[in-house]
C-alpha cells in the first residue's frame, strides 16, 4: 500500500501544507528543525493514532491553534481510502473515512499501515522494558486492529486495580487511604480476563516474529551472530517454585493464561497490598533480545545494538507483508516504510545493507538533513523542507 496525499493544518510547525506522494522512494531533505519529521510523524499518527516522539497529543497541535487536522489518502491495490483525523488535546479525537464520520476513532486503525525506523529505536535494545512493550503493543494493533480496544480496557482496569491497592497500602501504613478491598476480587477477574487475551496474542506474535528477526539480523549485520527474541512473561518470573514448570508450549491458550494470572494474583496478594502495585500481568512483560546466547542489552556493541534495532523493524515489515499465520484478516498488505533520520546514525556497511534491503519496498519515505545522507540505492523523488514550506524538487 502507499500514501498518495498528505495535508496538514495546524499540525506541529505547519499552518497549512499539502503534498502529493507516489509509490517508490521519496526523500524529505532539509536542515534540522524545519519540519521533515513532522511530515512522517503525521503519517505515523494516521496509522497508529499515536506519535513516535511524544505521548501527549498537545505537542502535535501548532502553538496557538485549538486543533490539528491530518488528512491522508492511501491506496491499497485498486482500493482508495481518504482519512481525516482531527486532533484536539485533552478531548476525544474525531475521524472521518471517505468523508463519513466514524463512531470510534480507533476504527481507522489498519487503513494506513507503516513501519517506522527512528533514532529512538536504539532504546528498544538498550532501554527499559516499557519501550519493548510499546513496540509489541503497536505491532499487535497493526496486525490485529481489533486488539486496540482490549489494550485500552486493560490499561483502564490496571489503573483502577492499582489505585485500589495503593489506597489499601497507604491505609495499612497508617496514612490516608482506604483499606476496603471488597472489590479487589472483581478487579482480579477483569485483569485476568483481559490480560490473558493480550498475553495469548503476544505469544503468537513473538513466535511469528522471531524467525523474521533472525533473518533480518543476519542480513543487516552481514552474517555476524545469531539474534533471538523471546517473550518473558511476568507469569514465569513470579512462578511458584514448588509448582511444576509451565510446559514449553509456545502459544498457551487464553483460558490457561487466565487461570495462571488468577492463581498468581491470589498468591501475590499480600505483597501487592504491601507495595500497592499490580505485580503480574502483560504490563510487567518484557521481550528478551539475545545475541549469540547473550543478552543484547549490556553485551552488544553500539553497532550490534543498531543492527538489532533495525532487524526488529525489518521483521515487523516482513511480518506485516506476509501476515501472521492463522490471522489472515490483513494478509498481503505491504506497509509503508518510514526511515526518519536513520541513515546518518549508521556506519557505511549497515547503511548500505539497509538501503539495499528496503530499496524494493512499495513506498519508502526518508527524512535526511542533507542529500548526502540518502544512500544512492534509494534515489527517487525529493522534497525540500524549509521553514514549514515543502517544495518538490525532483
Amino acid at each position: 500500500m502507499f500514501v498518495t496525499y498528505l495535508a496538514l493544518t495546524d499540525f506541529r510547525s505547519y499552518r497549512d501544507v499539502e503534498l502529493e506522494l507516489e509509490p517508490g522512494v521519496t526523500a524529505f531533505v532539509g536542515p534540522n528543525g524545519q519540519g521533515k519529521t513532522n511530515l512522517v510523524e503525521a503519517i505515523g499518527y494516521a496509522a497508529t493514532l499515536s506519535s513516535h516522539r511524544v505521548s501527549q497529543d498537545a505537542a502535535l497541535v501548532r502553538a496557538g491553534a485549538e486543533r490539528a487536522l491530518v488528512r491522508v489518502r492511501a491506496q491499497r491495490g485498486e482500493r482508495k481510502a481518504a482519512l481525516e483525523i482531527e486532533i484536539t488535546p485533552r478531548r476525544a479525537n474525531r475521524a472521518r473515512i471517505n468523508g463519513a464520520p466514524v463512531q470510534r476513532v480507533r476504527d481507522v486503525l489498519g487503513l494506513v499501515r507503516t513501519v517506522l525506523f527512528a533514532p529512538e529505536d536504539l532504546a528498544l535494545v538498550k532501554g527499559d522494558p516499557d519501550g519493548r512493550r510499546r513496540f509489541l503493543d503497536q505491532l499487535t494493533v497493526m496486525v490485529r486492529p481489533r486488539m486496540a480496544g482490549t489494550l485500552q480496557d486493560y490499561d483502564r482496569v490496571l489503573k483502577q486495580r492499582s489505585a485500589l491497592l495503593k489506597s489499601a497500602s497507604a491505609a495499612l501504613k497508617g496514612s490516608r487511604g482506604n483499606a476496603d478491598l471488597r472489590t479487589l476480587d472483581v478487579w482480579d477477574a477483569k485483569l485476568a480476563a483481559l490480560g490473558a487475551q493480550i498475553l495469548a496474542v503476544r505469544h503468537e506474535l513473538v513466535t511469528a516474529l522471531a524467525p523474521h528477526v533472525a533473518r533480518a539480523y543476519e542480513q543487516v549485520s552481514a552474517g555476524q551472530g545469531e539474534a533471538r527474541i523471546a517473550l518473558v512473561s511476568s507469569l514465569d518470573r513470579v512462578a511458584d517454585d514448588a509448582a511444576p514448570p509451565a510446559e514449553a508450549d509456545q502459544t498457551p491458550s487464553a483460558a490457561l493464561l487466565e487461570a495462571r494470572l488468577l492463581e498468581a494474583m491470589s498468591r501475590l496478594r499480600p505483597q501487592e497490598i504491601e507495595r500497592g502495585v499490580c505485580l503480574v500481568g502483560p504490563h510487567r512483560d518484557d521481550l528478551s533480545l539475545e545475541l549469540g546466547g547473550l543478552p543484547a542489552k549490556g553485551y552488544a556493541s553500539h553497532g550490534e545494538s543498531w543492527s538489532f534495532a533495525l532487524a526488529l523493524r525489518l521483521a515487523c515489515y516482513q511480518l506485516m507483508t506476509t501476515g501472521v499465520p492463522g490471522w489472515d484478516e490483513y494478509q498481503d498488505s505491504e506497509p509503508i516504510l518510514v526511515l526518519d533520520d536513520v541513515f546518518a546514525e549508521l556506519d557505511t556497511g549497515r547503511r548500505d545493507r539497509l538501503a539495499r534491503l528496503v530499496a524494493g519496498a512499495g513506498q519508502v519515505l526518508i527524512t535526511a538533513a542533507v542529500p548526502g545522507d540518502v544512500p544512492e540505492e534509494l534515489e527517487g523523488a525529493r522534497v525540500d523542507v524549509m521553514g514549514g514550506q515543502v517544495r518538490r524538487v525532483r
Partner: protein, 199 residues
C-alpha cells in the same frame, strides 16, 4: 479575560459538563443581551430544581416527594428491579416502554481512581429492598464500560448466593446494522448472548 461579573458568569458556565470556554462565552453574552424576563425564568428554574427536586428514598431516582414516580406507580411489578448508575439511565430505559418493574439507582459505579467504593453507592439500600423476598429478579444495567462491568460483577457476586435471579443487559449488535461492520468485541458478545429461536 473580561471584567468581574461577566468573567464570573463565563467561569461558572464553563464548569458545566459539555460546555467549553467558547460555548461558555457565547451563552454568557446571550444572557447579557437577553430579555430580563427570560433570564429570570432560567434563574427560577435553577432555584426550583435545587429546592424541590430530591432523590427518591427508596430507589435513588430523582423525585418531587419522598418517593419517585416509578416507586409510587401501583401498576408496576415489585418482583423485578433494574439496577442503573444514574437517574438519566432510568429515563433512557423508560423510553423503551419494555420494562414494567422497579428501579434502583446506584449513583455511580465502582471507581477506585475516583475513590468510589461499594459504600459510596446505594448498595446497602438495594440489599435491604431484597430482604423480604418480593424481588425475584435483578437486572444489572450498568454501563458497558470497565467500571460498569466491574460494578455488575461485584453485585452479581453478592446477589447470586442469595438465590436471586441475576441478569445482565445483553450487549451486542445494533438494530439496523450490518454484521460485517460490527467490531470483534461486540460480535463476540453477541455470540455469547445468542438466543434460541423456537419455530
Amino acid at each position: 479575560m473580561y471584567e468581574g461579573a461577566v468573567q464570573d458568569l463565563i467561569d461558572e458556565l464553563g464548569r458545566l459538563p459539555g460546555v467549553g470556554p467558547k460555548s461558555a462565552q457565547r451563552i454568557a453574552f446571550h444572557l447579557l443581551a437577553a430579555d430580563p424576563d427570560e433570564v429570570k425564568r432560567l434563574v427560577d428554574a435553577l432555584t426550583e430544581v435545587k429546592n424541590k427536586v430530591r432523590f427518591c428514598e427508596r430507589c435513588g431516582n430523582v423525585a418531587q416527594d419522598e418517593l419517585c414516580r416509578v416507586c409510587l406507580d401501583p401498576r408496576r411489578s415489585d418482583a423485578t428491579i433494574c439496577v442503573v448508575e444514574e437517574p438519566k439511565d432510568v429515563v433512557a430505559i423508560e423510553r423503551t416502554r419494555e420494562f414494567r418493574g422497579r428501579y434502583h439507582v446506584l449513583g455511580g459505579a465502582i471507581n477506585p481512581i475516583a475513590g468510589v467504593g461499594p459504600d459510596d453507592l446505594r448498595i446497602a439500600g438495594l440489599m435491604s429492598r431484597l430482604q423480604d423476598g418480593t424481588v425475584t429478579e435483578v437486572i444489572l444495567a450498568t454501563d458497558p464500560n470497565v467500571e460498569g462491568e466491574a460494578t455488575a460483577t461485584y453485585l452479581a457476586r453478592l446477589l447470586v448466593p442469595m438465590g436471586i435471579t441475576v441478569s445482565r443487559l445483553a450487549s451486542g449488535l445494533p438494530v439496523g446494522g450490518d454484521l460485517e461492520y460490527a467490531d470483534e468485541v461486540t460480535l463476540g458478545r453477541a455470540f455469547e448472548g445468542r438466543r434460541r429461536i423456537s419455530a
